[in-house]
């Protein structure tokens, strides 16, 4: 049997999903009972869940998906101090590429959002950067080659 895909999550990302899971379970329970859940009147509720509540099958499939994520999740922790000079998941990296400076944080696929600088460890650039240190020139190879010069590595996670 093929190995199940691992979902790498930061502590913050895992907590957000757990909160969503608890809220969706409550909404589903109330929906099946035909009640108006207390949660709907809470200011704390993410407005997106109200949309999910309209579609019970989507609500259910999202709950199953979250359960699968929890079953196969692995937490991203900061490495030991002596290894914090090496790029690993959770690292925030300052790079220079084509003469421009940029900053990425390397995360798992589920938390990736390149628009805000969160790059997936499964993207070609994310994969290439893993394991490198400050001063390394990382080549992302293909017909068109790009060189990422690693300028700084820091771990903002605990």
């Amino acid at each position: 049997m093929p190995e199940e895909k691992k979902f790498y999550l930061t502590k913050e990302g895992l907590e957000r999903l757990k909160k969503e899971y608890a809220d969706l379970k409550e909404l589903k329970l109330a929906k099946t009972k035909g009640e108006s859940p207390k949660l709907l009147h809470s200011e704390d509720l993410n407005p997106e869940y109200l949309v999910f509540q309209e579609d019970i099958s989507f609500l259910q499939s999202r709950i199953i998906e979250l359960e699968n994520i929890f079953k196969n999740s692995a937490m991203i922790n900061a490495p030991k101090k002596e290894k914090q000079n090496i790029i690993d998941l959770g690292a925030t990296i300052l790079v220079e590429v084509d003469g421009q400076k940029d900053e990425f944080t390397l995360v798992g696929s589920l938390e990736a959002n390149p628009t805000i600088g969160k790059i997936s460890n499964e993207s070609p650039v994310g994969k290439a950067l893993l394991g490198h240190r400050v001063g390394d020139a990382v080549i992302v190879s293909s017909p068109i080659q790009t060189v990422y010069k690693v300028k700084k590595i820091k771990y903002k996670i605990s």
Binding site: E54, D55, Q100, E103, I116, E122, S123
Partner: protein, 204 residues
């Protein structure tokens, strides 16, 4: 039926809404939002069929992902760097736009807010269940909540890349090296990465 007619008339305006990214590149007869949606839905369906995905959800999501642009502005990654002077704009386009982490987050939130408002306005008169379905699909696309959402979000970028490379071949006005660099930072889906490799080998 009146609410559907009004909705179809409004969505039809995307046939003539030309994508801002190409306008700033001064591409002649550039594509409209509806044309982008059309090919994106085809790509999502065909490449999506190589994965274990709910294809109905995938195709619907591709079809609705930019409907918000009936009312919301079409923003490019270069905003707010672009000057009004078109010659100066071409200079800006020679580099990939880079922003500080806090500005990236601010831009992202502003875009999300204006697009959500646009979508809400467009679907406001539709029946509740349809309104909920469209909003659910759009939120999934924006937030990458499901595997379908994460896939379609990346297909959007891949269609954009393909169009950019085609324009580069035809007009030479696109910085294709920067585009290929960008796509390798943002795509992590194995099927789409395989497709990009084929595209790169053919054109670059």
């Amino acid at each position: 039926m009146k609410e559907f007619l009004d909705f179809f008339i409004n969505t039809g305006t995307l046939k003539r809404k030309f994508r801002k990214g190409w306008l700033v590149h001064q591409i002649k007869n550039s594509e409209s939002t509806a044309e982008h949606i059309f090919r994106m839905a085809i790509i999502a369906w065909i490449l999506g069929s190589k994965k274990k995905l709910n294809l109905e959800r995938v195709i619907k999501m591709a079809l609705i992902h930019d409907l918000c642009e009936v009312y919301a502005p079409d923003l490019t990654p270069y905003d707010p760097l672009l000057p009004k002077n078109s010659k100066k704009a071409l200079e800006v386009l020679k580099k990939w736009p880079k922003f500080t982490p806090s500005l990236k987050i601010k831009k992202y939130k502003n875009k999300y807010k204006s697009e959500l408002e646009g979508l809400n306005k467009l679907i406001s008169k539709l029946p509740l269940s349809l309104k909920a379905e469209i909003k659910n699909l759009w939120l999934d696309f924006e937030k990458g909540l499901t595997k379908e959402g994460r896939f379609v979000k990346q297909v959007d970028k891949v269609e954009n890349l393909l169009q950019g490379i085609e324009y580069w071949k035809k007009y030479g006005k696109i910085q294709h090296r920067l585009w290929m660099r960008w796509i390798k930072e943002i795509i992590d889906d194995p099927v789409l990465l395989e497709f990009i490799k084929v595209l790169e080998n053919k054109f670059c």
